[in-house]
């Protein structure tokens, strides 16, 4: 059922607004709408619950929208570029490379000297990751070579992180690193938002500009070049765009997987398979999926809040399985 582009984007935006409102209210303490109303429009006494909204849930919600949007967009762009339905920054090892960069800055103590080293190292790790991925897969973009290159990157980056944990000077550092690696939006501040969002937005704008090239790539590399696409610049825009967005995202939230993988698949039935149309729809849907999952994580009654990265991994497994079954059915 293909929906017109404009109606789809408006619909997704509406869903996003509703989810954002729920995200501001939901949690261990449910904050009813009248608290907002009173704070914004009437002069009643200051409600302490407003602090929960403005200091905790607002940055968390905004971060969820930006990170989720970037994940959905990156998934759509990478699947379009590689013509591979299994591409996403987490599966192809780019998130792991970003995490490796960030952990190195923690481990080497660079963070103590300058706050900026962590996001910068994470972005550097991610950009190097994308370049390595494109180089390793030999640009042939065959499904197998791509997945293999991704596995190699994932293995190397994870090994590096494990080594840093292994050699960590004290258990406190270990728990810090592990806690952060699991990926979460909880307890993030406006500072985190200010650190990450400029890079994520620049990265996303770069990715949105690749639509025309991604469409032409439907006919393979030779086909795209015969249509006048300069693939060399496309490749760089994609590498830097994905690197900036993944690096900045991982720097503040840790690794959150599967959103990039599943969102384009959720959207394809509504937009059709054309890669350029998928980009904005996947961005909005990625933000919706992330907010919905983050709300769910807060509402699950557990002693310790389940991390979003962990929840997505749990949900991602069955989805991956369903995808595999669907692909096998198409092939046989």
């Amino acid at each position: 059922m293909i929906i017109r582009q404009r109606s789809l984007l408006i619909g997704l935006t509406l869903i996003l607004v509703i989810l954002a409102a729920i995200s501001l209210s939901a949690g261990r303490i449910w904050i009813p709408a009248e608290v907002w109303w009173n704070h914004l429009f009437s002069n009643t006494a200051y409600d302490p619950r407003w602090a929960i909204i403005s200091e905790l849930r607002l940055p968390r919600t905004l971060l969820g929208i930006i990170i989720g949007g970037a994940l959905g967009l990156m998934g759509a762009a990478m699947q379009g570029y590689t013509r591979n339905p299994l591409a996403d920054p987490a599966i192809l090892g780019i998130s792991a490379m970003a995490a490796f960069g960030a952990v190195m800055s923690l481990y080497l103590g660079l963070v103590i000297q300058n706050n900026w080293t962590l996001p910068v190292m994470a972005m550097l790790g991610a950009i190097i990751g994308v370049i390595l991925l494109l180089a390793l897969s030999g640009l042939t973009s065959g499904v197998i070579t791509f997945i293999l290159a991704g596995i190699i990157l994932n293995t190397v980056a994870t090994a590096g992180v494990s080594l840093a944990l292994n050699l960590a000077p004290n258990p406190w550092a270990v728990s810090q690193i592990v806690n952060w690696l699991m990926g979460s939006l909880a307890d993030r501040s406006f500072d985190d938002l200010y650190t990450a969002s400029p890079f994520i937005i620049i990265g996303c704008l770069m990715l949105l500009s690749t639509g025309k090239a991604l469409d032409a790539l439907t006919f393979g590399e030779l086909g795209a070049r015969s249509l006048g696409i300069n693939l060399k610049s496309t490749r760089w825009i994609l590498a830097i765009g994905v690197g900036l967005a993944t690096g900045a995202g991982v720097a503040v939230t840790g690794v959150i997987g599967f959103i990039g993988l599943i969102t384009p698949h959720l959207m394809r039935p509504f937009v059709g398979a054309r890669p350029s149309r998928l980009l904005p729809a996947s961005a909005l849907a990625g933000a919706c999926v992330t907010l919905a999952a983050d709300i769910l994580v807060r509402l699950i009654p557990s002693v310790v809040e389940i991390k979003l990265g962990v929840a997505m991994a749990i949900l991602g497994g069955p989805f991956f399985l369903a995808l595999l079954i669907a692909m096998r059915r198409r092939l046989t």
């Binding site: 469409d215 032409a216 439907t218 006919f219 030779l222 086909g223 070049r225 015969s226 249509l227």
Partner: protein, 258 residues
């Protein structure tokens, strides 16, 4: 009149030299067919002539401008390339696919009236209008080949370089494709270069035939000049007989030559 010329073209892939010292000049208003045995270097030559592959040495010029110095979008407007059996990665519909042929004009997402006219014309020429809403990945081989041809025609290039465009077409659509190529050359004075295996079809289609073998040009000339039994015996190793008919020479392959 426009010319496309290759001078001193030499292409090597690893140890193997695929094209050796090719000097050719193509004129617009003509259909040229490149024939030759498997592995002769036909496709490599075609991608060089399109500016999609940089030769190891030598250059290709479009009206004295080196192809590789042209901006890629500009080059794509001038030279259309029809790839043999290209990958089609996503299940897009035929209309979308043909519309993507307008990519070199930056007409993207929002097609102009000119774009729509070109797309419609290309679909009509290739009998693809009834298939507009069909998913490309569900088409038969011949329908797919026609959709690919339509995409190339939609770009309205001055030169069309087609690699095995008749592959998989039924006789009727083969002849319709011949008609399209002939009209492009004679009525619209465009340049058409095709590679193909069917020698009779080549003789019927082309003004000029180039016989390529082991990366070298063996013969250039009219079908009667280039497709002689002695040249074909030398390049293909087959014994042939030419039968004249009202539609042109029929190259009858008698058997293997000794």
């Amino acid at each position: 009149m426009s010319t496309l010329s290759a001078s001193g073209l030499y292409v090597s892939l690893g140890q193997k030299s695929v094209l050796k010292d090719i000097d050719l000049t193509f004129k617009s208003g003509q259909v040229t067919a490149i024939v030759g045995p498997n592995g002769a270097g036909k496709s490599t030559l075609l991608t060089c002539l399109c500016g999609l592959r940089a030769p190891t040495t030598g250059q290709v010029f479009l009206d004295q401008t080196p192809l590789l110095s042209m901006k890629s979008a500009h080059r794509a407007q001038k030279l259309g390339f029809l790839q043999q059996n290209p990958e089609i990665a996503w299940a897009i519909d035929v209309l979308t696919m043909v519309s993507l042929g307008r990519t070199p004009y930056a007409g993207f997402n929002k097609l102009t009236a000119v774009d729509h006219a070109a797309v419609n014309r290309a679909m009509a020429q290739t009998d693809m209008l009834p298939f507009a809403d069909r998913d490309v990945t569900t088409l038969s081989g011949g329908e797919r080949a026609r959709a690919i041809l339509a995409r190339a025609l939609a770009g309205e290039p001055e030169w069309l370089l087609a690699d095995e465009p008749f592959d998989g077409l039924d006789p009727r659509h083969q002849l319709e494709a011949v008609k399209i190529f002939r009209e492009m050359a004679t009525t619209e004075s465009k340049g058409v270069i095709v590679t193909l295996h069917d020698l009779t079809l080549a003789a019927r289609l082309a003004d000029t035939i180039i016989v390529l073998a082991e990366g070298k040009t063996i013969a250039i000339g009219t079908p009667e000049e280039a497709l002689t039994p002695s040249i074909l015996a030398k390049t293909y190793g087959v014994e042939t007989r030419t039968i004249m008919s009202e539609t042109g020479p029929i190259i009858h392959i008698v058997g293997l030559s000794r």
